[in-house]
C-alpha cells in the first residue's frame, strides 16, 4: 500500500509542476487566444538564469529566484511587444508558427551557452534526508517546490479576482470590444499576460531544475507536455490547469508505476498524456472547466 501512496505523492509533485507550467499558457491563451509553443524555452531560460545568478555570480538562491522571475517577466513582455503584437488578427497558423519560430530562436541562443549541451544541478540548500511519513517519503526539494507552486498559483488567482489590473485582464478575455469601450488598453493587457506567463515559467523552471537537475532537453519538453494539461483543463481556466495538471501528473506516475514492466510495456508515462489528450478531444473538447465554444460543422 505504501507503494500506492508513494506514487500518489510523486504524482501530486509532478502534477503541481505541470499546473504551474500550464498556468503560463492558460494566461496567454485566456487574454489573447494565442497558443504559445515557445513556453518550454522560456521555462528553460528562467531556470538557467537562476542558476547563472546563484552559482556563477554568487547571489543568494532566494534573490536569484526572484531576479530570474523579473527578468523573464520583461523578456516575455518584450517578445509580445516585438513579435506578437504585429500579428494580432492574423490567422491562427501564423500565430502558432511565430511562437514555434521564437522557440527555435531561443533554442539557438541557449545552445550558444554551455547550458545547451551540459547538465547542471542546483547546489543543495535544503536538508538532504527525505521526509518520511508512514513509509511514504518525499524529499524537501519536492515539498518546498509544491508549496511554492501553490503559493504562486494562489497569488495569481488572488491577483485575477481582486486587483484592478487582474479584473481588466478578465474583462479583456471576456469581450475585447466591450473592455476597449470602458477604457482598458487591450494591447497592454496582452503584454501583461505574456509577462505573467514568463514569470510563472521562470518559477516552474526553477522548481523543475531543483527537483530533476538542469538539462535543456527535459526542461523544454515541458513546453509540449503542458498541452494535454491545458486541453484537459479547458484552455482558459486557471482552476482547470491546476486540476488537470495534477490529474495528468497522477496518471503519468500511475502508468509508469503499474503499467511499465507488465504486459511488456515500457515508457508508458511519456505517451499516456497524449492518449488522454486524444480521448478528451474526441469526447469533451472543451475540457473539464473550459467554455463551451466548439462549433460543429
Amino acid at each position: 500500500m505504501s507503494y500506492f501512496f508513494q506514487i500518489v505523492v510523486s504524482g501530486i509533485v509532478v502534477g503541481s509542476i505541470y499546473a504551474l507550467a500550464a498556468l503560463g499558457l492558460v494566461l496567454v491563451y485566456k487574454s489573447s487566444r494565442v497558443a504559445n509553443f515557445a513556453h518550454g524555452q522560456i521555462i528553460a531560460a528562467g531556470a538557467f538564469i537562476t542558476y547563472y545568478l546563484s552559482v556563477s555570480l554568487g547571489v543568494p538562491i532566494f534573490f536569484s529566484f526572484l531576479a530570474s522571475m523579473i527578468i523573464t517577466f520583461f523578456l516575455a513582455m518584450s517578445v509580445e511587444r516585438i513579435f506578437l503584437r504585429k500579428l494580432i488578427g492574423e490567422p491562427i497558423i501564423s500565430v502558432i508558427m511565430v511562437t514555434i519560430g521564437l522557440g527555435s530562436i531561443l533554442d539557438g541562443l541557449i545552445y550558444l551557452t554551455p547550458f545547451g549541451s551540459e547538465n547542471f544541478s542546483f547546489p543543495a540548500f535544503l536538508p538532504q534526508e527525505p521526509l518520511s511519513l508512514g513509509g511514504v517519503s518525499i524529499s524537501w526539494t519536492q515539498l518546498v517546490g509544491v508549496i511554492v507552486t501553490f503559493i504562486l498559483i494562489g497569488g495569481l488567482s488572488w491577483f485575477f479576482k481582486k486587483s484592478t489590473i487582474g479584473i481588466s485582464m478578465r474583462a479583456v478575455s471576456d469581450d475585447q470590444f466591450a473592455s476597449m469601450s470602458v477604457g482598458i488598453s487591450v494591447p497592454k493587457v496582452f503584454g501583461l499576460a505574456w509577462a505573467l506567463a514568463g514569470l510563472s515559467a521562470a518559477a516552474a523552471g526553477c522548481i523543475i531544475g531543483n527537483i530533476t537537475g538542469l538539462n535543456f532537453d527535459t526542461l523544454h519538453a515541458f513546453g509540449i507536455i503542458v498541452f494535454p494539461v491545458i486541453i484537459l483543463g479547458g484552455l482558459d481556466s486557471i482552476l482547470g490547469a491546476v486540476v488537470a495538471g495534477i490529474i495528468i501528473g497522477l496518471i503519468q506516475q500511475f502508468s509508469s508505476g503499474y503499467l511499465d514492466g507488465n504486459f511488456g510495456l515500457k515508457g508508458t508515462g511519456d505517451v499516456m498524456p497524449y492518449i488522454i489528450l486524444v480521448v478528451v478531444l474526441f469526447f469533451k473538447p472543451h475540457g473539464l472547466f473550459g467554455i463551451h465554444e466548439i462549433e460543429r460543422v
Partner: protein
C-alpha cells in the same frame, strides 16, 4: 488570344474549358517542356558526386511531402503538426515489408513502384483516421490533435521491437531494367525517379484544384458553413484533405526509405514536422508553386548555415558549438521574419515578378 501568361494583360477566356487548360498557349507548353528537358538533362552533363545528389534528392522528397502538407494546411486550412509522422508511416510501411520478408526480397527490390503506391495508400488511411477529429475540432484544437498523433507515433516506433525500436532498418538496393542499381548511380537513379514523381503529383494537384474536389477544399477553408449551404460535405472534405496529405506523405516516406536505404526514427520527429510546416509557410501556403520554393529555400539555407558555422568554428573556441546553435536560430528567424513581413511566402515574389513583366516598361 494573347501571346503567353507572362505578357497577357488580362484574361480573354470565352469558355470554361479554355480556363481549365494546363498551358494557355503553345509557347507556354514549349517553355515548360524545355524546363523539364533541362531538369532531366543536367545531371547527365555535370558530374556532381553522391554527396550533392543526396542533397538534391532530399529536397525533392521534401517537395513531395510539402505538396501534401500544402493541400491540408494551405488549401483546406487545417493545421497539421504531425506531418512527419505521416511521412514516417510511409517509410515504416516499406520497413515492415523489409522486416517480414528480409530486406532484399523480390517485392522490395523489383516491385518498388508498387510498394511506393502502397505506402502512399497506407499513409492515406492513417491520414483519414487522424483527420477524424477534424469532424468536430477546429483551429488550435485540431493542431493539438495532430500534435498528439505525432507524439503517439514516436512512442509506438520506439516501443515496438517489430520496428527495431527506432534503430535503423535496412532496405535493399533496387533493380531497374538495366540490372541492380549500384552504389555509384544510386542517388542519380533516384533523382530521376523522384523528379518524375514530383512532376506527376504536381500535375495531379494542378488538375485536382480545377475540379470540384479541389475547389471544395478551398471552399471549406474559406467558410465551411457557406460550403455546407452550397451542398458540399465539410466534414467529409476535411477527412479527405487529411487522407490526400497522408498519401503524399506516405509516398515521400517510401522514397525516403529507398533513397537512404534505411529507416530510422530520428527522421520523423516533431522537429521534422515543424520543418515541413516552415517549408510550406516560407514557400507560400495555398499555392502550388510555393510547395517547390519552400523546401528549396529551407534546405539551401540549412546548407549555407552549415558552411558558415564550419568557417566560423575555426576562429572560435571549441567550447562553443556554433553549428548546433546557428541552425535553430536561423531557422526560427526565417520563419518569424517571413510571417511578419511576407506572410504569403516566396510564391508571392513569383507572382509580383510575373505581373511586373506584363506591364514593363510601364508602371501600371
Amino acid at each position: 488570344m494573347s501571346a503567353n501568361s507572362w505578357l497577357a494583360t488580362g484574361n480573354f477566356f470565352t469558355t470554361y474549358k479554355q480556363e481549365q487548360r494546363t498551358f494557355l498557349t503553345s509557347l507556354d507548353r514549349s517553355f515548360f517542356t524545355l524546363f523539364l528537358v533541362i531538369l532531366f538533362g543536367w545531371p547527365l552533363l555535370f558530374e556532381l558526386g553522391n554527396k550533392n545528389m543526396l542533397v538534391i534528392d532530399n529536397i525533392l522528397i521534401a517537395i513531395v511531402a510539402v505538396m501534401g502538407l500544402n493541400l491540408v494546411t494551405g488549401f483546406a486550412g487545417l493545421i497539421s503538426i504531425g506531418h512527419a509522422a505521416f511521412v514516417g508511416i510511409g517509410a515504416y510501411t516499406v520497413a515492415s515489408f523489409c522486416r517480414t520478408m528480409g530486406d532484399s526480397h523480390i517485392i522490395i527490390t523489383h516491385f518498388w513502384p508498387v510498394l511506393i503506391v502502397v505506402s502512399g495508400l497506407v499513409g492515406a488511411v492513417f491520414g483519414a483516421i487522424v483527420g477524424l477529429p477534424a469532424l468536430r475540432l477546429k483551429h488550435l484544437y485540431l493542431a493539438i490533435a495532430t500534435l498528439s498523433f505525432q507524439m503517439i507515433f514516436e512512442w509506438t516506433i520506439q516501443f515496438m521491437t517489430f520496428f527495431n525500436q527506432g534503430q535503423t532498418i535496412y532496405v535493399g538496393r533496387v533493380f531497374w531494367f538495366t540490372g541492380k542499381v549500384g552504389r555509384k548511380d544510386h542517388y542519380l537513379f533516384w533523382y530521376f525517379i523522384i523528379l518524375t514523381i514530383v512532376i506527376l503529383l504536381g500535375f495531379g494537384i494542378r488538375n485536382l484544384l480545377k475540379t470540384r474536389y479541389g475547389r471544395s477544399l478551398v471552399a471549406v477553408r474559406d467558410n465551411d458553413r457557406a460550403a455546407d449551404a452550397m451542398g458540399m460535405n465539410p466534414g467529409l472534405t476535411k477527412v479527405y484533405a487529411f487522407a490526400l496529405a497522408g498519401f503524399f506523405a506516405g509516398v515521400a516516406g517510401a522514397l525516403h526509405a529507398y533513397v537512404y536505404r534505411g529507416v530510422g526514427f530520428e527522421s520523423f520527429t516533431l522537429h521534422e514536422s515543424i520543418g515541413y510546416l516552415a517549408m510550406a509557410i516560407v514557400g507560400g501556403l495555398g499555392t502550388l508553386n510555393g510547395s517547390f520554393w519552400g523546401p528549396v529555400a529551407i534546405k539551401f539555407l540549412d546548407l549555407q548555415v552549415e558552411t558558415l558555422a564550419e568557417i566560423a568554428g575555426k576562429y572560435l573556441p571549441s567550447s562553443m558549438n556554433l553549428a548546433t546553435a546557428l541552425k535553430p536560430f536561423t531557422f526560427g528567424l526565417v520563419i518569424v521574419l517571413f510571417l511578419m513581413f511576407e506572410p504569403r511566402g516566396i510564391a508571392n515574389w513569383w507572382r509580383i515578378t510575373k505581373s511586373y513583366t506584363k506591364l514593363w516598361p510601364f508602371r501600371y
